[in-house]
């Protein structure tokens, strides 16, 4: 073989070997890369692919609705669902901002048009919300305008057909679909239900397509609720308290009406109120309107609390309705002198007189009787009164199903005697209107403290109805004899005392007025020209159908509660007798 030929063959073999080697190397590189991608990076690529090829769709659960009934057990909705639309703009596609603003002006509410024009002219903005709540009729109108750059997105909304009437009971649902105040907040979880989720493979446009990989978790709709509130009674109460506030030039007022035999709240109205359909219209200085003052606002109960102290003494057998003392118009406790509200003295007075004439000195006398020495306030006096205050439910939340309830403040029995002397007639203690109404219910029904409640029925999404039963907190607050005695004393308040405007032929009404002073914010005594007038009572005394509390805050007319709260109580009571068809007893 010639040498030249051998060299050429060797060279060719070498080149082939190198080529094969390179191909093998390439194959190995590809193989290693495949292993890396398919095994080690499997999960992350699956996630990327899923993100590109499938989408998660939230299926909103339907929020439960809220109903009330009337005397004939007819149901009326007070909170319903409604499909609303959010209107937004994409300035990039808006050529003439003036035209858009002009055409949409009626749907923009109070929006500052100059500010909006500036925003729309800024093409760097890509999303400007114009209105978060447009109904479907307006949405159709906007659609028909065919404006480029205007976006309409459907969203679930809430409608309150009764407007202001039940605002403090329902609260409202905000733009984040979260309940605020009232039942909407307190029962938010139960009302909202749980959203469902659908994960579906989508086409290139993001439209879901049929696939075995699609998954669906169905939404769980929220529960609906039927309240204990009677819409007609609520209406009477709301109208009456509005009239009272206007007539007395007061700042605010409230009415609570409760069934004393169950604790079911029949009406809870506060004035001023707000329209939950347009809650965003309430200005920052009026945010207090959102608050249900019947359960949130704390105040000194004033003389209305005297019935609690007197009940304690009657139940302990320390006094009787005809027990008497000499009212000198003042009573010395430690270094303080306690006087009657009108600075008068009444001489020899019975316990019935003490309640009927609302004598502060009489309450100090009663407090002294509770202890071991009837001539002074002892530790035992304070212990017993504190025990009864707690038994009546003060200093604790009642547990009503409404957001924002306060528990109040009660000084414990280690406090000074003068503090307890003040507490005996309703000063130096803070309570909510609901607590006082609930406590007086216990007197009305013969000594049982019920938990106040507003939810009568829970209607589960499957249609099952869960009836709320009355809940007894304790049935030994008072003996029926003591309850009857204090009721009789309260009857005298109406017959002969400050509750006279509620006197009605043929009806026995029991009640107690209270004109509470308002402590100064800095704690240095009381405001001179501010008071809270209240009247708490029940009727008919022999078989109570209702307990009612009327409160008028900071009236600008002269006089005590008999001029502010009592006439309102009388007006509502008169209507309630007709509504409940309670015939006069002939006396």
């Amino acid at each position: 073989m010639p040498i030249g030929q051998a060299t050429s063959e060797e060279s060719s073999n070498k080149r082939i070997t190198i080529l094969v080697g390179l191909m093998c190397l390439f194959a190995v590189i590809v193989f290693v890369r495949l292993i890396y991608i398919q095994i080690f990076k499997h999960q992350s690529f699956v996630e990327i692919a899923n993100a590109q090829q499938s989408r998660k769709f939230v299926i909103p659960a339907r929020r439960g609705e809220i109903f009330v009934h009337d005397g004939n057990n007819e149901l009326y909705p007070i909170a319903l669902n409604q499909q609303l639309f959010l209107v937004a703009a994409d300035p990039k596609y808006i050529k003439n901002s003036n035209e858009v603003i002009d055409k949409l002006s009626q749907y923009l509410g109070d929006t500052d048009k100059d500010e909006l024009r500036q925003k729309l002219d800024n093409k760097n903005n890509r999303y400007i919300v114009l209105n978060k709540k447009i109904d479907d009729k307006s949405a159709d109108e906007i659609k028909n305008l065919k404006l480029a750059g205007i976006i309409l997105s459907p969203k679930d909304g809430r409608n309150y057909p009764e407007g202001e009437l039940f605002a403090h009971l329902t609260g409202y649902v905000n733009n984040d679909e979260s309940g605020q105040y009232g039942i909407e907040q307190f029962m938010n979880q139960s009302l909202a239900g749980t959203d469902g989720v659908s994960r579906a493979v989508t086409d290139s446009l993001g439209v879901p397509i049929t696939s075995n990989e699609n998954t669906l978790v169905k939404p769980k709709n929220g529960s609906s609720m039927v309240l204990t509130i009677d819409r007609n009674i609520q209406s009477m109460a709301a109208r009456a308290i509005e009239d009272a506030v206007v007539k007395n030039k007061a700042e605010s007022g409230s009415v609570i009406i409760m069934d004393p035999k169950t604790g079911a709240v029949k009406a809870m109205a506060n004035y001023p109120s707000y329209d939950p359909n347009n809650y965003q219209d309430v200005s920052a200085k009026d945010y207090g309107r959102f608050i249900n003052s019947s359960i949130t606002n704390l105040s000194e109960p004033g003389s209305g609390f005297k019935v609690i102290t007197m009940s304690a003494a009657l139940n302990e057998g320390k006094v009787k309705p005809d027990t008497s003392y000499n009212d000198t118009g003042e009573s010395q406790v430690e270094d303080r002198t306690i006087r009657n509200a009108d600075n008068k003295k009444f001489g020899q007075s019975t316990m019935t007189d003490v309640i009927q004439k609302s004598l502060n000195t009489g309450m100090v006398f009663v407090l002294k009787q509770l202890g071991t020495d009837p001539n002074r306030i002892t530790q035992k006096s304070k212990d017993i009164l504190y025990d009864y205050i707690k038994k009546f439910g003060f200093g604790e939340k009642t547990g009503i199903e409404l957001a924002g309830e306060s528990k109040g403040y009660v000084k414990d029995s280690k406090a000074y005697s003068v503090d307890y002397a003040n507490m005996s007639f309703g000063q130096g203690i803070s309570t909510t209107s609901l607590q006082l109404t609930s406590a007086v219910s216990a007197i009305a029904n013969g000594g049982t403290l019920y938990k106040p409640y507003v939810i009568d029925e829970l209607v589960l999404p499957n249609g099952e109805i869960k009836k709320n039963k009355p809940s007894v907190i304790r049935n030994d607050v008072l003996s029926s004899k003591s309850a009857a005695e204090i009721s009789e004393m309260m009857k005298q308040v109406v017959q002969k005392g400050s509750g006279w405007p509620t006197r009605m032929a043929g009806y026995n009404i029991a009640g107690k007025t209270g004109t509470a002073q308002v402590p100064k914010a800095d704690g240095s005594g009381y405001e001179e020209k501010k008071n809270i007038g209240s009247f708490v009572g029940f009727a008919p005394v022999e078989d109570p159908k209702f307990v009612m509390l009327v409160r008028v805050d900071y009236p600008k007319v002269d006089g005590f509660a008999e001029k502010t709260a009592v006439p309102t109580f009388a007006e509502i009571a008169k209507q309630l007798f007709i509504y409940y068809q309670v015939p006069p007893n002939g006396n």
Partner: protein
């Protein structure tokens, strides 16, 4: 009958002629392709059917949502018309007088 003719008759039931179906590569490929085509068509028809149903379901769901929305709106209108505020307005328009005295029948 000759002896040759006899032997032919004798063997008549002994010999069986087998029919052999043989296909060439072209026939096999054609059959495979046809089979694949049929299966493909069946698959396509099922997918189309499912998609149609899916579309129908989606349409029905949309309709259901629209009906639900209309029902909600009607409920709201009905509730608003029955509201206390409306009733009060109607009473004022009709100039209804408020009840002032109520008499109860007494049992003898």
């Amino acid at each position: 009958m000759s002896s040759a003719g006899m032997s032919l008759r004798k063997n008549q039931n002994i010999v069986k002629n087998k029919i052999r179906l043989e296909s060439g590569p072209v026939t096999t490929i054609l059959m495979m392709v046809s089979l694949l085509l049929i299966l493909g068509l069946m698959y396509l028809s099922q997918v189309t059917k499912t998609s149609t149903f899916n579309y129908k379901i989606s349409n029905l769901e949309q309709k259901q949502n629209q009906l639900q929305s209309s029902k909600d709106n009607l409920s709201i209108d009905a509730a608003r018309l029955q509201s206390i505020a409306e009733a009060k307005k109607a009473a004022e328009t009709a100039k209804l007088a408020q009840v002032k005295t109520v008499s109860f029948a007494t049992a003898r």
